[in-house]
């Protein structure tokens, strides 16, 4: 079932002024209920502009965006969208403003009008959901590390139990392990709770591991959309979009240029490792014997 339908969406900033910029041009896109889709594109490609239509922060200059069945041009619908579409901006920890973690996470749920027992239960559940200890709720956010703080900020949105979660580079500026942890966590929640996840990223390695489909934007135009494996194998298109294919895809292509084709196209480092294992063994290089 589609949960977001974008039809011929065009968005123009500052129309009629010398600063006029066409940020999006004739975008056609459908996001399905419960899927994990990555939205990739270089800086200025229109990713952020596009997702701001999904929770009614921006309105189309032309075309139509339907979220959860109704057009966002419908004012009543638009004003209620924030309850169901959670948007985690880049560096969300900068929006933390309370003195305790609990207060900060509780802000959204309280605004939904839930009573205090429900709010407190939701906050506790959410913190557990992302694997943070319950004691953190009484902590002062200023005393937490960058990675913890990022997870707390994401909890603030998750606690509202959005049906659609949009995240803009949730791993930016974090150490690799924490980045993986955050994404793995979101993936788990998506799978268990049927939440739809839209991940904005220019790190295709992450898209390769977590996303089911990838959409590529370039200068406001949707260049490609499809299953992750298909999109990530189009290295030329990715390059044109200012993106870099995952290491695994690049390595496979380099090897095939050198006359060593891999039996299938790998997406992740684990994939390559497995393919190479087969290749190294069938080539007579047994484990322990493959050196030099």
């Amino acid at each position: 079932m589609p949960c977001i339908e974008v039809e011929e969406l065009t968005h123009v900033y500052y129309p009629g002024t010398p600063l006029e910029i066409v940020a999006l041009r004739d975008i056609e896109l459908t996001v399905y209920d419960g899927e994990f889709i990555a939205l990739a594109g270089s800086a200025g490609s229109g990713k952020s502009t596009l997702v701001q239509h999904f929770n009614g922060l921006l309105l189309p200059t032309a075309g139509c965006v339907k979220v959860l069945g109704r057009a966002i041009s419908d004012k009543q619908h638009r004003q209620q969208l924030w309850r169901q579409v959670g948007l985690v901006f880049q560096f969300p920890e900068r929006q933390i403003f309370s003195n305790t973690v609990f207060e900060d996470i509780a802000f959204g749920p309280r605004n939904l009008g839930w009573d205090s027992t429900t709010v407190s239960k939701q906050v506790k559940d959410t913190v557990a959901l992302v694997g943070l200890p319950e004691e953190i709720l009484s902590a002062d956010p200023r005393t937490l590390s960058g990675g913890m703080l990022r997870r707390v900020a994401i909890c603030g949105v998750l606690a509202m139990r959005p049906r659609i979660l949009i995240m803009d580079e949730p791993g930016a500026g974090l150490e690799p392990a924490t980045r993986q942890l955050i994404l793995a966590n979101i993936k788990e929640i998506q799978a268990q709770h049927g939440m739809t996840v839209i991940l904005i990223t220019h790190h295709l390695e992450d898209a390769a591991v977590f996303a089911e489909r990838v959409a590529v934007l370039h200068q406001g135009v949707l260049l490609s959309i499809g299953p992750t494996r298909e999109v990530l194998s189009q290295t030329e298109l990715l390059h044109r979009a200012g993106l870099k294919a995952p290491f695994a895809v690049e390595l496979a292509q380099r090897l095939s240029q050198e006359g060593i084709p891999l039996p299938s196209l790998p997406q992740s480092i684990e994939d390559v490792a497995q393919l190479l294992q087969q290749l190294l063994q069938t080539n007579g290089a047994r484990p322990g014997g493959a050196s030099l």
């Binding site: 800086a43 392990a177 390595l251 050196s291």
Partner: protein
């Protein structure tokens, strides 16, 4: 390691604790940066990387030990102006260091403050904008640039001062791969043309481009080595929540599967060369 006459920045048993904190953000760090050397600094969140950047730029004064920049002690107030001119700092969030309403004026801010003749200011702005690929956007207002473009602008502002060393605190964390590559190329050509570069980053493939890599953990310098040596320390890196480079991680997986690989495979080239040798 640079020879004694080639040392630009020298850290001598440097410690630092933030005011009011008992916890040492940096502990007994001794290291040096040579002229035109390219150093990258990696470490988990909270390991002291940003503090180190500020100490090296003379923005923070040490609680113990000494920082010498081009022979000047950062603790001496009279050398501060000279030090600021010698070391440029580019921060994580470019919004924190953009000052003007037009791109080229922002780049001109530094050289104008040095009191340079306007022809020289023009020349430097021109060069700096070209170096970061923003020449076409010179008359745009900075707030209308994308995150990546803003970061390149911040770098241009520092380059226009022609510093001896540029310290960058995760300058690429907001950039797309293309922008990241561009910044990296700028940094490489800087170090080739004689400017030292200290790059703090979470992208290991990026860190591997440096001449040397420093690994920080809990305020201590754990490792100071060439990329090939450091990125072969898989267990240590994983323990700290870090990774090796992509090629390094693949090498690690293959070693785990029981294959013997030469030590020091850190780049795509290394990996392709190795596989060609074995499989052809």
């Amino acid at each position: 390691m640079p020879g004694p006459s080639n040392i630009l920045i020298e850290l001598e048993s440097v410690s630092y604790a933030y005011p009011g904190s008992k916890f040492a953000a940096l502990q007994d760090i001794s290291a040096c940066v040579g002229r035109a050397e390219f150093i990258s600094v990696i470490g988990p969140n909270g390991s002291g990387k940003s503090t180190l950047a500020r100490v090296m730029a003379g923005l923070l004064l040490t609680s113990g030990g000494r920082v010498m920049i081009n022979g000047l002690d950062t603790a001496r107030p009279e050398s501060r102006q000279e030090i600021r001119r010698n070391v440029g700092l580019v921060m994580q969030n470019p919004d924190n260091q953009l000052v003007a309403a037009v791109v080229e004026e922002d780049v001109a801010f530094g050289p104008e403050n040095l009191g340079l003749p306007s022809a020289e200011v023009f020349r430097r702005v021109e060069e700096a904008l070209a170096a970061v690929g923003l020449s076409d956007m010179r008359s745009r207002p900075p707030h209308m640039l994308s995150g990546g473009e803003k970061q390149r602008l911040a770098i241009a502002g520092v380059l226009a001062l022609k510093p001896l060393c540029v310290v960058l605190d995760e300058p690429t964390s907001m950039l797309d791969p293309f922008g990241r590559q561009e910044v990296l190329q700028v940094l490489r050509s800087l170090s080739k043309s004689g400017t030292a570069v200290v790059l703090i980053t979470h992208h290991m493939d990026e860190a591997a481009c440096a001449d040397r890599v420093w690994l920080l953990d809990k305020g201590c310098l754990l490792f100071d080595a060439e990329p090939a040596a450091l990125f072969s320390q898989f267990e240590l890196l994983h323990e700290l929540g870090l990774t090796s480079t992509s090629a390094g991680e693949l090498a690690y997986r293959l070693v785990e599967q029981g294959f013997t690989l030469p030590v020091g495979i850190v780049t795509m080239e290394d990996m392709v060369n190795f596989l060609c040798r074995v499989l052809k």
